[in-house]
C-alpha cells in the first residue's frame, strides 16, 4: 500500500540519527519556551531561523515543528500548575486544569494532557498522510487564477480569525504584501521600491522582519508590565490515572481529536480555535455541565487533544499548498524559502523525503514529549521561577547575531531596528502584526499568479470570477469575511478572545 510506503520513507528519514537529535532538541526547546515566561513560539522560531540555515531542509523543519508542538505542551503545563496559559491555545486548559491542581490532582491533569495529546498527535499524523496526496493532486490541476484566489482565501481566512479589528487585520495583510514586493521584480529584473538602497535589492529580510516585530517587540512589551510569577508549592499528586478516569477521558479525547483535525486545516484555524470548540462541545455533552470549571477532567482531555490535533493538521495547507494558516506556519514557509525550496504542491513530489520525514517526525516528537515530560515535571516547574530580566538580554543578543548571520551585513541590523520600532508602534495601535507576516510571504506569490493569470486571460480581469473553481474559492472568502463582520458573530468572537 502506498500509504505504508510513504510512512516507511518518512520514518527512515525521521529515525536518522541527526534528525532524532533535531527532533529532540526541538521538543525540548519548545517545552522550555512554553514554560518560560514571555517567550512565544513565533518569536522563538524567528530567533532560530538563522540556525536552520546551515542544516538540511528536513532537519530544519523537524526542529521547527518540534518547537511548535513542544510549546503547546509546555503551555499546558503552566496552565495546569499556575493558571498561566503559556500559549494562547492552552487558555481553555486553565479553566478545569488549574482547578484540578488546586484539588491536588495536578498529576492526573498533566497525565491526561500528555496522553490526550499523544493520541491526537498519532491520529493527526495519519490524517495528514491520508489527506495530503489527494489535496496535492487537486492543487496541481489549479491554474494561476485558481492559485491566486486560493491565496486570497488563505489570507482572508487567517485574518478573519485573528483577534481584534478585522479591518485593521486585512490592512496589515495588504501592508505585508507591499513589503514583500520590495526588491527585484522576477519578470523584468527591475528594482522596485527600494528607495535606492542597494541592500534592499534582494528584498526585506524575512528573518529581520520577524525577529524585530515578534522577538524584540515582545521583549519591550514584557518589560513594561511588572513581573508577577509566584509559584505556589503544591504537591503534584500521582501521575497515574485510575481506570475510572481513563473511561472518563476516552470519549472526550476522541472527540477532541476529531474536532482538532478538521478545524486545524482551515485557514486561521489551528490549535486555538480547536480547543475552544472542543471545550464547548464537552460541556454541552456532559450529563452534569455544572462540573465544568470546577475541575472536570473532560475539560482538560478534550481541549488538550484538540489543540494538539489542530496544531498538527495545520501543517496540511502549508505542506501541500504552500499557504500558511497561522504565523507559525508562516515561519515554516520562511524556513523553506531560506533553504531555497518553493513551498507548494511540488514539494511532495520533488522532495518526498522532506514531506514524509517531517510528518513521521511529528509522531516521534509526540512520543518524545510524553516520555520527556511526565518524569521531568519537577524540572519544568523550577524553570518557571527564572526571572524574565535574565532572559531578555539573551534574546536581544540572539536576534542580533541571528540577523547578522543570515544577511551577512550590518545592514540587516538596521532592518531589524526599523522592524522593531515599527512593530512596537503597530502593536500599540492594536494592529496585530501576524497578518502582516502572512502577507509578506504570500505577496510575491500572489503577484506572480495574478500576472500570469492576467497574461493567460489576455488582460481580462474577469477571469478570476469566470473560472468556476476560482469563483467558488473567492465566494467562500467573501462569505467568510461577511460572517465575521456580522455584528452578533463579532460580539461572541470578541468574548471568546477575551475569555
Amino acid at each position: 500500500m502506498e500509504l505504508i510506503q510513504h510512512l516507511e520513507l518518512g520514518l527512515s528519514v525521521a529515525l536518522a540519527a541527526e534528525n532524532i537529535l533535531y527532533c529532540f532538541l526541538g521538543v525540548l526547546m519548545g517545552t522550555l519556551i512554553g514554560v518560560l515566561p514571555g517567550i512565544g513560539p513565533v518569536a522563538t522560531i524567528a530567533l532560530l531561523l538563522p540556525i536552520t540555515y546551515g542544516v538540511p531542509p528536513e532537519s530544519a523543519l523537524v526542529l521547527l515543528a518540534g518547537i511548535y508542538y513542544g510549546a503547546q505542551y509546555g503551555g499546558s503545563t503552566t496552565a495546569i500548575l499556575l493558571s498561566l496559559p503559556g500559549e494562547s491555545s492552552a487558555a481553555v486548559t486553565v479553566l478545569d486544569g488549574y482547578q484540578m491542581a488546586q484539588q491536588g490532582r495536578a498529576g492526573a491533569a498533566l497525565a491526561t494532557a500528555a496522553l490526550g495529546s499523544f493520541f491526537a498527535g498519532t491520529v493527526a499524523t495519519f490524517v495528514i498522510a491520508l489527506a495530503s496526496p489527494p489535496l496535492t493532486k487537486l492543487a496541481m490541476s489549479f491554474g494561476a487564477a485558481e492559485y491566486f484566489s486560493l491565496m486570497v482565501l488563505g489570507l482572508l481566512g487567517a485574518v478573519s480569525l485573528a483577534s481584534g479589528s478585522v479591518l485593521r487585520a486585512i490592512t496589515m495583510a495588504v501592508l505585508g504584501i507591499l513589503l514583500g514586493l520590495v526588491g527585484q521584480d522576477v519578470y523584468t529584473g527591475v528594482t522596485r521600491m527600494t528607495m535606492d538602497i542597494p541592500e534592499l535589492m534582494d528584498g526585506v529580510s524575512f528573518s529581520a522582519l520577524a525577529m524585530g516585530i515578534f522577538g524584540l517587540g515582545e521583549v519591550v512589551r514584557n518589560l513594561r508590565s511588572p513581573e508577577d510569577r509566584t509559584v505556589t508549592k503544591s504537591s503534584i499528586g500521582r501521575l497515574m490515572l485510575s481506570w475510572q478516569e481513563i473511561k472518563q477521558i476516552a470519549m472526550p479525547v476522541v472527540r477532541g481529536t476529531g474536532i482538532g483535525s478538521v478545524l486545524g486545516v482551515l485557514p486561521g484555524g489551528g490549535s486555538l480555535l480547536s480547543s475552544f470548540v472542543s471545550y464547548t462541545t464537552e460541556r454541552k455533552m456532559a450529563k452534569d455541565p455544572s462540573r465544568f470549571g470546577k475541575g472536570a477532567i473532560e475539560g482538560v482531555a478534550g481541549p488538550e487533544s484538540a489543540n494538539n490535533a489542530g496544531a498538527q493538521t495545520s501543517f496540511i495547507p502549508m505542506l501541500t499548498l504552500g499557504i500558511p494558516s497561522n504565523p507559525v506556519m508562516a515561519m515554516m514557509i520562511g524556513a523553506l524559502i531560506i533553504q531555497g525550496i518553493t513551498p507548494g504542491p511540488n514539494v511532495i513530489n520533488e522532495r518526498p523525503e522532506l514531506f514524509w520525514g517531517v510528518i513521521a517526525s511529528m509522531w516521534l516528537g509526540n512520543l518524545m514529549l510524553v516520555v520527556l515530560n511526565l518524569p521531568l515535571i519537577g524540572v519544568w516547574v523550577r524553570l518557571l521561577t527564572v526571572p524574565y530580566r535574565f532572559l531578555f538580554p539573551a534574546i536581544v543578543g540572539f536576534c542580533c547575531i541571528g540577523v547578522f548571520s543570515v544577511t551577512n551585513s550590518g545592514f540587516g541590523l538596521y532592518v531589524l531596528l526599523v522592524a522593531f520600532i515599527f512593530g512596537f508602534i503597530v502593536w500599540e495601535l492594536d494592529c496585530e502584526p501576524a497578518p502582516l507576516l502572512l502577507g509578506f510571504l504570500l505577496g510575491p506569490m500572489l503577484e506572480e499568479n495574478f500576472r500570469r493569470a492576467m497574461l493567460l486571460a489576455h488582460g481580462e480581469i474577469g477571469t478570476f470570477v469566470v473560472r468556476p473553481i476560482s469563483a467558488g474559492i473567492l465566494l467562500v472568502a467573501v462569505v467568510m469575511i461577511l460572517i465575521v463582520a456580522l455584528p452578533n458573530v463579532r460580539k461572541s468572537r470578541n468574548e471568546v478572545f477575551v475569555e
Binding site: 518589560l223 538580554p393 547578522f404 541590523l413 531589524l416 503597530v426
Partner: protein, 153 residues
C-alpha cells in the same frame, strides 16, 4: 515610562495612509504596463491604492467614534535596545563576535533597571560564550571571534 493618549484607530489609519502614499509613489516610478501585459509597477500600485482605501476607512472609523486610550511608552527599554542594535550593526565587523556580543547584551540588560551591573556582566559573559559556541563553533560563522580592530592578522 511615558503615558500618551491616542485614538488608536485614527493612529492606525494615519500609519497606513503614510505607507500607502510612500508605496504608491515608489510604484509610480515603475512601468505599470497594460492589462494583458502587466508591468512591474501594476500590482504594487494596485496594492498601495487598496492600502490607501483601507487606511482612510480606518481613519474615518476612528474619527466617527472618538475613543481615546492611554499608551505607555517604555522609553528606557526602547532606547537601550535601539542602542544595542546600532552598536552591534556598526562594530561587528571591526570588533568581532565576542566583544561585540558581550557589549550588546550588556546594553540590552540595562534596559531593565532591576538588572545590576554585576548581573548584567555575568549574563553578558555567559551569553557571549554560549552564542560563540552555537554560531562560531557549531555553525561555523565567518565573522572572526576577535576582529581586526583588536588583533592584527
Amino acid at each position: 515610562m511615558q503615558e500618551v493618549r491616542v485614538n488608536k484607530t485614527v493612529g492606525a489609519g494615519l500609519v497606513f495612509i503614510a505607507f500607502a502614499i510612500a508605496f504608491a509613489f515608489g510604484a509610480l516610478q515603475l512601468d505599470l504596463g497594460t492589462l494583458s501585459q502587466l508591468g512591474p509597477g501594476y500590482f504594487p500600485f494596485a496594492m498601495a491604492m487598496l492600502l490607501l482605501i483601507l487606511g482612510v476607512a480606518s481613519l474615518v472609523e476612528g474619527l466617527r467614534k472618538p475613543d481615546v486610550s492611554t499608551v505607555m511608552i517604555p522609553w528606557r527599554p526602547i532606547i537601550m535596545i535601539v542602542l544595542a542594535l546600532l552598536f552591534f550593526g556598526s562594530t561587528i565587523r571591526g570588533l568581532g563576535l565576542m566583544p561585540t556580543l558581550f557589549l550588546t547584551i550588556f546594553a540590552a540588560a540595562m534596559a531593565d533597571k532591576r538588572n545590576t551591573l554585576l548581573s548584567a556582566t555575568c549574563l553578558s559573559a555567559v551569553m557571549s560564550v554560549f552564542s560563540w559556541l552555537v554560531f562560531k563553533v557549531g555553525l561555523g560563522a565567518v565573522v572572526p571571534t576577535f576582529g581586526p580592530w583588536l588583533v592584527s592578522y
